[in-house]
Symmetry: C2
Subunit: 281 residues, 2 copies
């Protein structure tokens, strides 16, 4: 009988997933976090940071398409785009599908994430060698502060709100993003699970609502993330994703997002919609 | 240090969930399956049949609302409704919200499921004592064969396609449902995970498309089910859920479904939509 290895992640104190591992293929410790890559039987290669699933070969397309296309397709002409975090390169790959893009900046604090993705997730990292991409191994918060009025679209592709990413879920950061965007800019942030992170979602939505004139939330199905349901929150200065001209949306060869779902995404389950009601209303 | 008990379910051969159990509160074996009820730390009481999660206190509302309201709100005047399976009573509870309903028949093959739900899930089973409900501990396939032209809406609230429920995922069963429905009847069946049961979804959709003039599929987020995403397939003789008059949809005090999402539900992720393309097209 063979030895069986299973990766088990407690996604909350009392609940988690467990998935069979064929072999562990990378383990490292950076200045910021622990990195692991394993080959799993169900999801292909799996990237784990500080004991939490970041992405897998099989379901990565959902997260990367869904953090990218709603904002990119809502902005009529995104030329200058920033990804905060996102060292695996998946969001960059999706951004580069838009012919209007002239420059895509990646501000990832941990260079080891970029290296691990290029080596073990070449399909996810494929866009990082594109000449339009500017990779900066840097603190995203500082980058935001130093680049005012520069970006059309900013994506906050962060890890969970513990350790190095705590500041990426706080109001001053969203205010900084507002400043770093052009006068018609739009941002989107990954904002955790509507089942397991309800207080965080409510707080972030309120903070983004108080910073931007337009705030919207949508979700996507990601089986290796806690609860299998993930949320993304948009802050926009001018363009409302719910009121785009659908005939002008760009259709790419994608596996999750398509223009026909663009407006439908905002019809949330009632319990998720209820998280977005401002306190006191 | 206390003893920790965790329930782990292999949802596929190589992947599963694990959830902390406060205590096991019921275990039984019926003529059809093994039944377990446990009190969990994350999801409240958990019903397990043959080693697979059927429902939990915390997320049951999703499955029960979503197997019920789309069909019930598409049919303009559902009076006579059948649930095949569904012994926990959750679908019946949702059906009874519609004032047009005169009779709701439950055809559940395993009386022990009904008893366990009434004892350990009183909120889910609450509708079973309603005078409009006719509980039949009976084989759903036989009930369908013996009741032709009788129902406005039929819900197939089955267990997984192994053991007693295999026949509930086959074309002769859908043909039987067609016969058991009135001339403007509509059915919906739970049809597993778009991530882990793709062949089954394609086959069932093709079978229902070949039996009914209208076939539609939609999904919902259920964290304790495999992949966290679940599908439901509609077969309808006359009323298309995608073309309802939204002003006539009934709004209930529900936690997941609401009329504004009724049409949006059919804008599926591309990889799910691709499962519905007929072979040869």
């Amino acid at each position: 009988m063979n030895t069986e290895l299973w990766y088990t992640e407690k996604q909350t104190k009392n609940h988690g997933i467990t998935t069979k591992v064929n072999k562990s293929i990378y383990h490292d410790q950076s200045a910021f976090q622990t990195l692991d890559v394993m080959e799993t039987a169900e999801f292909g290669n799996l990237l784990v940071l500080d004991g939490m699933v970041m992405t897998t070969d099989r379901d990565e397309f959902v997260y990367h398409e869904m953090i990218t296309h709603i904002a990119m397709n809502t902005h009529p002409n995104p030329k200058s785009v920033l990804v905060v975090g996102g060292g695996d390169g998946g969001a960059i790959r999706e951004i580069l599908r838009y012919p209007s893009v002239e420059k895509a900046v990646l501000a990832e604090i941990d260079g080891k994430v970029i290296e691990a993705s290029q080596k073990y997730f070449p399909k996810i990292a494929s866009g990082l060698s594109d000449p339009r991409v500017d990779i900066q191994v840097a603190d995203g918060i500082r980058h935001i502060q130093e680049n005012k009025g520069k970006y059309d679209v900013i994506l906050v592709d962060s890890t969970e709100p513990v350790g190095p990413a705590v500041g990426l879920f706080q109001k001053p950061f969203y205010e900084g993003i507002f400043e770093a965007l052009k006068e018609d800019g739009i941002m989107v942030a990954q904002t955790e699970s509507p089942w397991f992170n309800q207080e965080l979602i409510s707080q972030v939505f309120q903070d983004i609502s108080n910073t931007f004139s337009i705030a919207r939330l949508y979700t996507a199905s990601i089986p290796t993330y806690p609860s299998g349901l993930w949320s993304f929150t948009i802050g926009s200065k001018k363009y409302d994703p719910l009121h785009v001209d659908e005939s002008k949306l760009i259709k790419h060869d994608t596996k999750y997002y398509h223009p026909d779902m663009h407006k439908a995404l905002f019809q949330l389950p009632q319990f998720v919609q209820d998280l977005l009601i401002k306190k006191g209303e």
